[in-house]
Structures are given as structure tokens and as C-alpha cells.
Subunit: 343 residues, 2 copies
Amino acid sequence: MAEAEPKRPATIHQVASLAGVSHTTVSRYLQDKDSLKPKTRVKVEFAVKTLGYRPNLVARSMRTRRTNRLAIVLAAGPYFPGRLLAAAFETAHRAGYQVEVVSIEGGARVRAERIDELAESGQVEGILAISSIDLKGKRSRRVPIVESDIYDDHLRGLGELADASQVREIIEYLSSLGHRTFFHVAGAQTHASARNRKSVYLETIEDLGLRSAGAVDGDWSAQSGFDAITSLPDDCGVTAVVAGNDGVALGVIRGACSRGWEVPRDLSVFGWDDEEHGRFSTPSLSTVAVDREARGRYAITRLLAEIHGQPVPEPPNRTINRLIFRESTAPPPSAASRRRSTD
Amino acid sequence: MAEAEPKRPATIHQVASLAGVSHTTVSRYLQDKDSLKPKTRVKVEFAVKTLGYRPNLVARSMRTRRTNRLAIVLAAGPYFPGRLLAAAFETAHRAGYQVEVVSIEGGARVRAERIDELAESGQVEGILAISSIDLKGKRSRRVPIVESDIYDDHLRGLGELADASQVREIIEYLSSLGHRTFFHVAGAQTHASARNRKSVYLETIEDLGLRSAGAVDGDWSAQSGFDAITSLPDDCGVTAVVAGNDGVALGVIRGACSRGWEVPRDLSVFGWDDEEHGRFSTPSLSTVAVDREARGRYAITRLLAEIHGQPVPEPPNRTINRLIFRESTAPPPSAASRRRSTD
DNA sequence: CTGAAAGCGCTTACAG
DNA sequence: CTGAAAGCGCTTACAG
């Protein structure tokens, strides 16, 4: 029950008194060692070493009104953007910022509230939101807030769906292989990326005069892929599936297999993310290579630019999203075999 | 270039003056609304609402010497403990703590240094280290530091290898199926868990009088599994592989396949972690279900207990680690077929 | 129940 | 090049 009583760290005053200078001088030393007379510097240096002094960053923050901290807000759920996060952390640290992670359960409203709170707390200088949020109107203007998912939106007039444009490429490719009836298992609709891909899917099917057996909302999980594909009627005629991500694709493949549809012989499946497991699974996954590290880096870079009131930097080359063709896609079964299998 | 100039948030003084009370009273209101006379409370309440006041947490931290922040330190690398982190975040938030994540590149020494720095910075009240660190001697005693990986160690005298005891169960199981020659692809040796599993592997092979074709150090990646299995000589006689995790197992399976060894007909492969992809891959993976959420929760709980000088809480029931048998394991090929395949 | 005062550990003009 | 003073926004004894 007793609180631990760790020994107090040295303060700037103790350093000053040991060095025989004012604490102002010590502070100056901390900012720029060269602003001191060499003789003074040596004394301060010695005192700092001796006492193992480290400035109290909280006190510094209070005085400078800068915390050197960012927050990344995630929606709790099966999708955890590890690669993006790792890159974001690194970029922030390189720039001298520490990163606090806040994962929030609940809908867009709850998220917006927590984010607002965070923005007002004075604890962070900027916020990166991974899943989409709904801050309309009451959006706090105290600190910059960047949404990772829709990062292209305000940038080059690419339109809201820029991030999902590969969906069209996927469908065009599969269509060129001969596929005519498609199916989409979308990711969690709390993510702009999932909504965008779904929109582009629907739009492209329409544009190209293809058929769709549906666009089901999943939650990014493999289970959602499994469930979606096994719920399809036998005579749906689907020969190609566009999955929300690689995990979903895996679930689709397993589900297809469980009802006797072999991939890619009877069904082609396209994933998204180029995760490691898709490279090594059997069949290996056709997918979209998304440079999540680049996105993580860029999101932070953009946030830092906003914090410092600098112009928004160029986004990374968009070719970082590229299609990868592996074993899970192939031409559809011939009309003959198809008719046989649906009899 | 110009710094953004957001409007300053309201201070406690402004609230006080609007309410016509002292700032001391406002502070009191913040701590405990009931300590005010109802009439006063109403005035303060009104002022707080009107100004949209939120206390500056940095100033509060400075005064109270408490930051309500924890740090989680990760080693940069292909392994990113998403599920553990998500649970850790949630547990910390529930207890009113925010979590800062620091991922560190470099060896155990560099990690130890950064952790020490963090501990001394006064910015966090405790540190959870995911990968193992080497703080011997200079270990900072300013704030508690918990290592997630070896959390059983100091607890019940279970010994350093408690966490890896399922390795023995795996080998015993495979041995009962008839396997005699094993192979181990270990995880990154920067993790105590990887080192422990390797030790238990070696020990068990020895104890049971089995053969091992080696224990290769990997980095938790599927590629490392692929490389390890494809580097094995044709006549190694291996029929069972214990992989560091599910990703590694997947790589082993794919690699085995590439050299004509079918899983599980020719080779049994055991994973670790029960990741979603292993449940849906073909063959699905036999693995160890590790409740990473429970571990994340427990690690934070333990850290909080140390921070508050409370007794270390009971660890979660150890049965959270349990073997799951799926399609990737089976009896070894018969002596006859084995002889044929190695001819 | 409320207020005046002190102080948490720094940085930043302002003098010298 | 260095120091004395003020102040960042809070909380916490101490009086009343």
C-alpha cells in the first residue's frame, strides 16, 4: 500500500549550486553549450555528470508550452495497423517527438469526443487518427489533426477515392481474364479506406457492365471472409472475389474450399496489403502492395508540417500501391465446367 | 514557416475570475465537486462550461509529480506485438494512464540506454519492455520497469523457462505420434521468449533421447522459416518442425512444399501464437494458443502495482497457453516411404 | 467552506 | 558571457 519513494532526481538548482553558477547558466548550457565561456562550461559539465542530471521534461514543457508529443488514435478492433504504426513511431522519434497511442472503443462519435478531449488536454501537439472520425463542427482547432486513411483527399484533387483506385485495376484485370460475376467482402466501414474501396468496387462493376453478387461489410477479419463466401447461394455464379485485405482473402479461400470451390480453379481471390502470410500461403495471394511504412511516415510528416505551420509536403509517389499477381487468381472455369458445377 | 497561433485555452485563473471565486476554489472543484458550497459550485460549473475550460495536464503533472503516463518499449523489427499492445493500451487507459510507445532500433545495450533515459526523464511513471533488455548494474530505480517476456520469472518460482514449457508438450506429442528427428526454427534471440523456447527444445530433445537436425535462429519472419527448411540437407531425416511462431511455420510449410515435402504427410509443423491466418491457411496450423491479450493486460497490471507499491498481483491462470492441433501435424511417413523418399 | 501564499523545475526576456 | 526576476498553470498545506 505504501507508495514507493524513489530518490528525487537532481534539479537544475542543484547542478547550478554544485557548479557555482546560476541556474540560468545551467539552462543556457542545456540549450547551447557554446554560449558559455569554456571555463564555465567545464564546471557545468562536471556538475551535470556528477549528479547525473537530466532536465525535467514536464517542467520544460510547462514553460515552453511545447510537449514534443503526438497522439495516434486507433479504433479498437481486429485490425491493428502494426506496420504503419512502427513507421510512424520511428518518424516521430527521429523528429524529436514521442508518440502516445490511444485506442478507443466505440463509434465515430465516441472517438471524436475522445480526440477532442485529447486535443484540448494540452498534452500533445498533434493527433493522427487512423480510423475515420466525425469531428464536424465541433472540431477542435487547438492542435492539428490528421486522418491517415484519407490522406490524399485534400492533396492533389485526386478525389476522395484515390486511395482505392487499385480496386478498379483489380476488376479490370480479372475481367480481362474472363471473369464476369464478382463479389466483394469489404473491411470495417469505420475506415474510410474500406468505404472507398467499396464505392469504387460498386462503381467499376457498373461502369464495366459486370455483375456483382453483392458487397458485404466485414470487419477486416478472416472469419468475415469465410462467413461471406459460405453464405453465398450455390448458383450465384461468382468467379472472382475482391477482399478487403489479405486476412479476409484467406478466409474466403478457406470458405470456398469448404464448399468445394477450388482457388484459383473455380474462384479467383484478390487480397489487399501484401502481408507476409499471403506470400507464403498456399495458394499464395494476389494482392495490392501498399507501402504501409511509407503511409505511416507520411502521415507523421504531414502532421509535423501542420504543427509547424509549414506547407504540406508532397505525398509519396502514388505508385507505392501496386498490384501483385500470385497464385490465387486465374481465368474463370470454362462455361462448360461452370454449367456442370451449378447443375 | 509562420508558427500557427491557436487561441490559448482558458486557464484556471480565468475560470476563477469569471466565477468570482479564487482559483484555489476552482482547483478544489476539479478534485471534488462536493467540497464546495452548492451555490459556489454552480458558479464554478457555469464558468467552466462557458469557457470550455480543461485543466492543463502538464501543469498538473508538474505540481503533483505524477504524469499518469506509462511507456512501452519495443524493439524495432518484423515482429510487432499488436494484440498484446492493444490489450495493454486498454488496461492502462482504464486505470487512467496514457501510454507512450517507443520503438527502438539497435541492440540490447542501446535499448537499455534509451530505457534508462526514459526512466530518468520524469515523463513516465513506469516502463513496460517487450523485448528483453540488459540493464544490469546501471538499472535506473527511478521508475518501475517490467519486462513482459519473462513475466513469470520472479513470480512463482516457475523458473526462467516457464513461458516456454509448451515446447516440451509439443515435442512429447509429436514423439508420441512417432516422430524421432526434429528441427527448430527459433525466433529473434533478442526476445527472452525465443531464447527460452530454444533452450526447452534442446533440453527436451536430449531428455527424451530424440534427434535434432538443429535449432536455427530466425527473426520471427516467415522468410526465416522458409530459408531454414530449404537449407536442410536432403538426408536430414527431419519429420517434425517446431517453429518460433505461426509466421515462421507458414514459411516452413511453403519451403517444405517447394522441395517436395508435403505437410503433414512428410513433415509435421507446429506453430506458436494461434494467429488468425493459421486458422484459415491450408493446411491449417497446429499451434500454441497464447492469450496475448491476457499477457498485455497482466503486464500493465503488474506495472501499475509496482508503481503504486502494491503487492504483485496473481498472474493469469497459466492454462492460457494451450496446444491446438490442426492439419499441419500428423504421424510421420512410414519407414518404407521415408527410405524411398531419401533414396 | 474559502482564500492567500508558496512552490513544482524549468526558460526567457531584461540588465549588466 | 552571466545573473536576478518573472512566470508557465496548476495543487496543497495553512489560516481563517
